[in-house]
C-alpha cells in the first residue's frame, strides 16, 4: 500500500535532481481523469458483499472492463506530450499490459502463497479477492504465472508482479518529466501541459 507514495516520492526526488520544480506539477493536465476514477469505482464494486454471489463471468467482465478503461486512459494521455512524459506513460502502459495479460488469463491476479509467506503476509490478505477483489491464489498450471504477484517485498509487507515494478518505473519517470516541463518553444507546443496565454492576454 506504500508502493505508490514511494513511487511519487522517488519521482519528485528524480525531478528535483533533474532540475525540475514540484510546483510544475500544478500545470500538468491529465485528460479525462473520470475514466480512470470510473475504472477504480468498478473494481471497488467487486468488494461489495453482493459481488460475492456474482457469477465468475460477471466478475471477470468487471475486471476486464476496468483494465480496458485504464489502457484507454493511457492511450488518451500519451499523444501530444513532451517525449520524457510520454515515455513515462508508455512504460507505465507496458506494466499495464503485463498485468492485464496475466489477470485476464487467470480471471484475477494470481498471488504466490509462498511469496506471501516470505513477505510476512498471512493468507487472510487474499481472502475475498484481496484489497480490490482482483486477486486469486497462484495454483500450479496458472497461465503466465511468472507475471503474477510472485516477488516478495518484506520491507513493504507486500508481494508485487513484474508489471507492478515496470509501472513504478513509468510513474517515477512521468512525475519527474512533468516537474521538468517544456524547455523550448518548440517543445512547449508538444508539452505535457496546456498552452498558457501570453502575459497580458486574458480569455
Amino acid at each position: 500500500v506504500l508502493i505508490f507514495p514511494l513511487s511519487m516520492f522517488l519521482g519528485i526526488l528524480a525531478g528535483v535532481a533533474a532540475g525540475g520544480r514540484p510546483g510544475a506539477l500544478a500545470r500538468l493536465r491529465l485528460r479525462q481523469p473520470g475514466i480512470v476514477l470510473g475504472a477504480l469505482a468498478l473494481q471497488a464494486l467487486l468488494t461489495l458483499p453482493v459481488a460475492a454471489s456474482m457469477p465468475a463471468a460477471g466478475r471477470m467482465a468487471c475486471i476486464a472492463a476496468s483494465y480496458a478503461a485504464a489502457g484507454a486512459w493511457l492511450l488518451l494521455n500519451v499523444p501530444r506530450r513532451s517525449r520524457p512524459f510520454a515515455g513515462g506513460l508508455a512504460v507505465t502502459g507496458i506494466g499495464w499490459v503485463l498485468n492485464m495479460c496475466v489477470v485476464v488469463a487467470n480471471a484475477g491476479m494470481p498471488v504466490s502463497l509462498s511469496a506471501m509467506a516470505r513477505a510476512g503476509l498471512s493468507t487472510a490478505a487474499i481472502s475475498g479477492g484481496g484489497p480490490l477483489g482482483k486477486h486469486v491464489p497462484l495454483v500450479g498450471g496458472a497461465a503466465l504465472g511468472f507475471l503474477g504477484d510472485t516477488i516478495p517485498v518484506p520491507t513493504l509487507a507486500s508481494v508485487v508482479s513484474i508489471g507492478d515494478l515496470v509501472m513504478v518505473v513509468g510513474i517515477v519517470v512521468a512525475i519527474a518529466a512533468a516537474m521538468c516541463g517544456p524547455r523550448s518553444t518548440s517543445e512547449r507546443r508538444n508539452a505535457a501541459f496546456e498552452p498558457t496565454a501570453p502575459a497580458g492576454v486574458t480569455s
Binding site: 500500500v1 506504500l2 508502493i3 505508490f4 511519487m8 514540484p22 510546483g23 506539477l25 500544478a26 500545470r27 500538468l28 493536465r29 491529465l30 481523469p33 480512470v36 476514477l37 475504472a39 477504480l40 473494481q43 471497488a44 468488494t47 458483499p49 476496468s66 483494465y67 478503461a69 485504464a70 489502457g71 486512459w73 493511457l74 507505465t92 506494466g95 498485468n99 492485464m100 489477470v103 491476479m109 506471501m116 510476512g120 503476509l121 498471512s122 487472510a124 490478505a125 487474499i126 484481496g130 484489497p131 480490490l132 482482483k134 486477486h135 504477484d149 517485498v153 513493504l156 509487507a157 507486500s158 508481494v159 508482479s161 508489471g163 507492478d164 509501472m167 510513474i171 512525475i175 512533468a178
Partner: protein, 39 residues
C-alpha cells in the same frame, strides 16, 4: 470562491497525483496486508 479553489496550484497538483494514484490502484496489483475496503 470554488473557481479560485479549483484553480489553486495545490489542488491542481493533488488532482494530477490522485489521478496517477487511481491508475496505479486499477492497473497495478500488489497484494498487501494493509487497509482494504470494507462495506
Amino acid at each position: 470562491m470554488i473557481r479560485k479553489l479549483v484553480s489553486s496550484r495545490v489542488v491542481r497538483t493533488v488532482a494530477a497525483l490522485a489521478t496517477l494514484a487511481a491508475l496505479w490502484l486499477v492497473a497495478a496489483a500488489p497484494i498487501y496486508q494493509g487497509p482494504r475496503i470494507h462495506w
